[in-house]
Structure formats: structure tokens, C-alpha cells
Amino acid sequence: MITFLNHLINGISLGSIYAIIALGYTMVYGIAKMLNFAHGDVIMVGAYVCFFAVSSFGLHPVLGLVLAILICTLLGIVIEKLAYKPLRQATSLAVLITAIGVSYFLQNAAQLLWTSNPKMFPDLFGGAAIRLFDGRLTITVGTLVTIAACIIIMVVLTLFTGKTRMGKAMRACSEDKGAAQLMGINVNRTISVTFAIGSALAAIAGVLLCSAYPSLVPTTGSMPGIKAFTAAVFGGIGSIPGALIGGVLLGIIEIFAGAYISTQLSNAIVFLVLIVVLLVRPTGLLGKQIREKV
């Protein structure tokens, strides 16, 4: 029972990280209708920035996180301006390939700048933990912070998209860009803001991911990126609560599959569950069913 609880908490913690990454995917997809394959690599950049800020310059972890968020936000805006904006009218496949190009670029630039030797990410929470049931169940502060961060981000984003002018503009753009433009919404700026928010979330996810799994290499972001993308589709891409549910479920499934079935097959089981879900609900758990008109 205690081991079960332990796995459950680990699963929720990992799932929260996936959910934060998945939010970035889902928001960008909802508005720009593109699969941003470079998202996983922005995570990696965020983790490196925080790593150098904390280990090399001795900054406080919170300052390191803020710095990572700032740099990733900037990076997201620059990528969008240089690589994606010129392709607004192009086919989605062309944008996809460009995103892959950006992903290659970030990975190789990171390899040149920081080499491919793994960096040991410092434990930002000093290894503090809460012990329950006579110390049989340990919950690290890192786990609690991760889960709390995920919940806070979710609430803030839901309020942001629901209440603010910018959030409403985002929803309008995701529904119909042409009509939104006619209503006086600056579509280009809205898309830029979405990229900025997505990249800031990627930075947070990168820092949280690396404090849980400390080995940092230039390809750190790609597998979590793919998993989070899977989580976004799982929950219904374009939906914010969907990203949360998809991410957390995916994390739990991955940890349980690894613990109770086979560590080597945990990835395969995650993807198998995704396939089954999509066959039953072709647009994900919370995705909108689009009716086809002739």
C-alpha cells in the first residue's frame, strides 16, 4: 500500500511536469494550428540557463528560475518572429519541417556551447522531505513544489484566458483568425504572446524536470517533449484542462507501468494507452468533436 502511494505520488509529480509542457503545446496548437516540435528544446535551454545561474554564478534558485523564464520567453518570441511568422500562409507541413529545423538548431547550438557531457543539475530544494507513516512514505519538497506549481499555473491560465482582454483575444484567434482580425484583434501580436507564454512555461518545466531527473544533456528535452505532446493529444489538443488531465494520467501510467509491468516497456505502454484512447475517442479525452459538413 505504501509503495503504491509512493508510485502514485511520483506519477502525479512527473505528470505535473508533463502537464506544464503539454500546456505550451496545446496553447500554441490551439492558436497557430502548428505542432511546435522545438518546444522540447526550449525546455532544455531553460534548464541550462538555470543550471549555470545557480552552479556557476551562485545565484539563488528562484533568481535562476526567473532568469530561465526571461531568456526562454525571449527565445520563444525570437523563434516565432524569425522562423514561424514568415510561414503564416504556408501549409502546416512546411511549418512542421521548419519547427524540426529549429529543434535541430537548438540541440546542436547547445551541444557546441555546453558540450554533450551530462551536467549534474543541483537539487534546488536542498533534499528536504516530509516523512509520513513512520518514515515509510517520503515526499520530497521538490515533488510538492512541482505539483503546486502545476495547479497554480493551471488556475492562472484558466483565469487569464477566461477573464483578460488578451486571453479573450487568444480564444477568438483560436476559433477563427479571420473573424478575429475583422473585430480589431491584432492576430500577430496574440500569436507572439502565446509563444511567449508557452516558452515561459517550458522554462519552468525544464527547471522542475531537471531537479527531479538531474542529468542534463542537449537532448534532455526531446523525450519529455514527445511525451508531453502525447499528453496534450491524449487530453484533447487545444484544451487547457485536457492538458492537465492528459499530463497527469500519462505520468501515472508511465510510473505504474515501469513499477508493476516492466521498466523497459514503460514507454511502449504509455503509447499503447494513447492509441487505445484515440481509437475510442478520436479527438482525445476533452477534445471538441468537430462535425463534418459537406
Binding site: 516540435f37 507541413l93 521548419t98 535541430y104 546542436n108 502525447t230 511502449a268 478520436p282
Partner: protein
């Protein structure tokens, strides 16, 4: 003769065949005369394998119009099935060429079976959902092959999953889990690669120009209209998908039989993406484009070797710039204006 080429498409097809033959003859004679560096010589078989991969993926993406992000999975199935077949038949068929042919057929067959298993559920989905499920299947195939152990002794083939002990009496291990296949007798040759490209082209061009091919393209252009005139969606989609998977399997066998060792991690998501890049850069549905893009982009990192560590960075920048140049309206107008001016001058 004139009537034969009256169709512009037929002409393009013949030019593609001729171009491939010409390239083969040039490269083969250069290679025989010692005009190719050993690094480039070593690239000849992988280039052929990637060309076939790009052609087969172009059938799915360009002709059928469905985005697949897991094409390397079929290559993996073909590579390992072919490697097992080649190793098992070593004593039965001593001639390398014939053994390669049999191995390729086995590889293609297994990949086709995988294609049916993947295709039946996947082709029910649409657009990006279909793409993510092909990605998922690619990863599942990778996980399965990584944990597969196959060996052979006097009693025949033994296989086990997840468990490295094979209960063999002597014999030898062919697929060793995450380590993959090692000590491969290299039976792939540039000639075999060239022949596989030609066979692939014949299959694809004949399919595209047939009744089935027209049905497949009708589905791509307007599924609802095609369905309403009585085209069987599942049948034709599956047909294109399975042929594409089988060709990828043959390419996988060709690739594996030209390497010393292959492991499942070679055929991951990045390989699928790489092949997709070839297809998109070469042009959807344009087979000669796929051939050129696959060949050029496989050799490009080799040619950029003098930039050593910067080469992949340059590769990424080239990729982004090419996509911007070919898809941005401003760039496109700029280029078309230049060409138009030239055209006007020629008239004068």
C-alpha cells in the same frame, strides 16, 4: 514515340528512370576508377536505402496525403527480419546477392504485416491525430525490437522477449536485445541498392497511374466526394499504407545488410523525421524530388565534414532557410519576378 510521351506525367516518369540509371552509371564508374573518397563510397548503400525510404514515405504523405511520423518503425522491422533471414539462410544460400534478395522479401513481408497491424486502427483517425498515433507506433516498435532476443542453433530459430536466455544448444545469437545485430556479413551493394530504387519506382509509378492510384489520390483531394462516388476508403488507404510499409521494410534490410552492426535505437523518431524532411523538401508526390533530396541531404553532412562540429548546426540553418525560401510569399514573389523577367527577355 510521340504518343507514348503525350502525357506529361509519363514523360516525367521516364526522365526519373533515366536519371537514376545515369546517376548509377556515373557513380559506379567513378567508384571503380577510384574517383570517390572512401567516406563517400561507404555512403552509397545508406543513400540508396534512404532514397527508397523517402520514395515510400512520399507514397503515404504525398500520394495518400496522410502525415506519418513513424516510418522508421517499418524500416526497423524490415532491417531485423531481414537480418535474421540472412543469418539463418547463410548455409542454405551461399550466394550473397540471392540471399539479400530473399532477406529483402522477408523484410518487406514482415514490414507489410506491421503495416496492416498499424494501418487498420491508424487510418480511422484524421490529420494530426493520425500523425501522433504513427509516432506512437514507431516508438512501440522500437521498444519491442529493443527487447527482442533471437538466436539460432541446430534445432532452428529461438526467440524470446524481455528475457535474454534463449535455451539454445550451442548456436549463436542473432538479435541481442538493445545491442541489436552485430557481425553482419555485408551483402548489400550499390548495385542492389540501385535495383531496389528502380523496383520501387516501377511499383510507385504503376500504382499511381492505375485505377487504384487514382482512387487513392481522389481520397487525398476530397475524401467525402470520393466516398460518395463509391470509393472504398479503408481499402485504398490501407493499400497505399501497406505498400509504403513493405518498401520501407526492404529499404531497412538493404540498410542493415550494409552495416557492421545495427541496433533498434538507429530507427527512432529522429530517423522518421529525417525521412519526412527529405519528402517535404523534395516536394509532395514528386518522386524525383524525393530522390534528389534524400541523396543530397544524406551526403551533405559528409561533405560538411570540414566544418566538423558546426556541420549539424549548418544543416539546421540550411533546412530552415530552404523552408522559408520555398514557402514564404515574399520570397516566392521575389524569385518568380526574377524568372519572369528572364522569360520576357528571351521572348524579345
Amino acid at each position: 514515340m510521340k504518343k507514348m510521351f503525350s502525357n506529361k506525367k509519363t514523360l516525367t516518369n521516364y526522365i526519373t528512370y533515366a536519371g537514376v540509371i545515369l546517376l548509377f552509371v556515373i557513380l559506379q564508374s567513378m567508384s571503380a576508377a577510384g574517383g570517390l573518397s572512401s567516406a563517400l563510397k561507404g555512403q552509397l548503400v545508406p543513400v540508396c536505402a534512404y532514397v527508397v525510404m523517402a520514395l515510400s514515405l512520399n507514397l503515404t504523405v504525398g500520394v495518400l496525403g496522410e502525415l506519418s511520423l513513424g516510418h522508421a518503425g517499418f524500416m526497423s522491422v524490415g532491417a531485423f527480419a531481414g537480418a535474421v533471414a540472412a543469418a539463418a539462410l547463410k548455409d542454405v544460400i551461399p550466394a550473397g546477392g540471392l540471399r539479400l534478395l530473399v532477406a529483402m522479401i522477408v523484410g518487406a513481408l514482415f514490414a507489410a504485416i506491421a503495416g496492416v497491424i498499424v494501418g487498420v486502427p491508424v487510418l480511422r483517425l484524421r490529420g494530426d491525430y493520425l500523425a501522433i498515433v504513427t509516432l506512437a507506433f514507431g516508438e512501440i516498435i522500437k521498444s519491442i525490437v529493443t527487447n527482442l532476443y533471437v538466436g539460432m542453433d541446430a534445432n532452428g530459430l529461438h526467440a524470446s522477449f524481455l528475457n535474454p536466455t534463449l535455451h539454445m544448444e550451442g548456436g549463436k545469437i542473432i538479435i541481442n536485445g538493445p545491442m541489436g545485430v552485430s557481425g553482419i556479413a555485408k551483402i548489400s551493394s550499390f548495385l542492389a541498392g540501385f535495383l531496389l530504387i528502380m523496383v520501387t519506382l516501377v511499383i510507385i509509378f504503376n500504382l499511381v497511374n492505375s485505377r487504384s492510384g487514382r482512387a487513392i489520390m481522389a481520397l487525398r483531394d476530397n475524401r467525402i466526394a470520393a466516398e460518395s462516388v463509391g470509393i472504398n476508403v479503408t481499402k485504398y488507404k490501407l493499400m497505399a499504407f501497406v505498400i509504403s510499409a513493405a518498401l520501407a521494410g526492404a529499404a531497412g534490410t538493404l540498410f542493415a545488410m550494409g552495416q557492421n552492426t545495427v541496433s533498434a535505437s538507429k530507427f527512432d523518431f529522429n530517423t522518421s523525421i529525417l525521412v519526412l524532411v527529405f519528402v517535404v523538401l523534395g516536394g509532395l508526390g514528386r518522386m524525383w524530388g524525393s530522390i534528389i533530396a534524400a541523396a543530397a541531404l544524406t551526403v551533405l553532412p559528409e561533405l560538411l565534414r570540414e566544418f566538423s562540429e558546426y556541420r549539424m548546426l549548418i544543416y539546421a540553418i540550411v533546412l530552415i532557410l530552404v523552408m522559408l525560401a520555398t514557402n514564404n510569399p515574399t520570397f516566392k514573389n521575389f524569385f518568380s519576378k526574377i524568372f519572369k523577367r528572364k522569360g520576357v527577355k528571351n521572348h524579345e
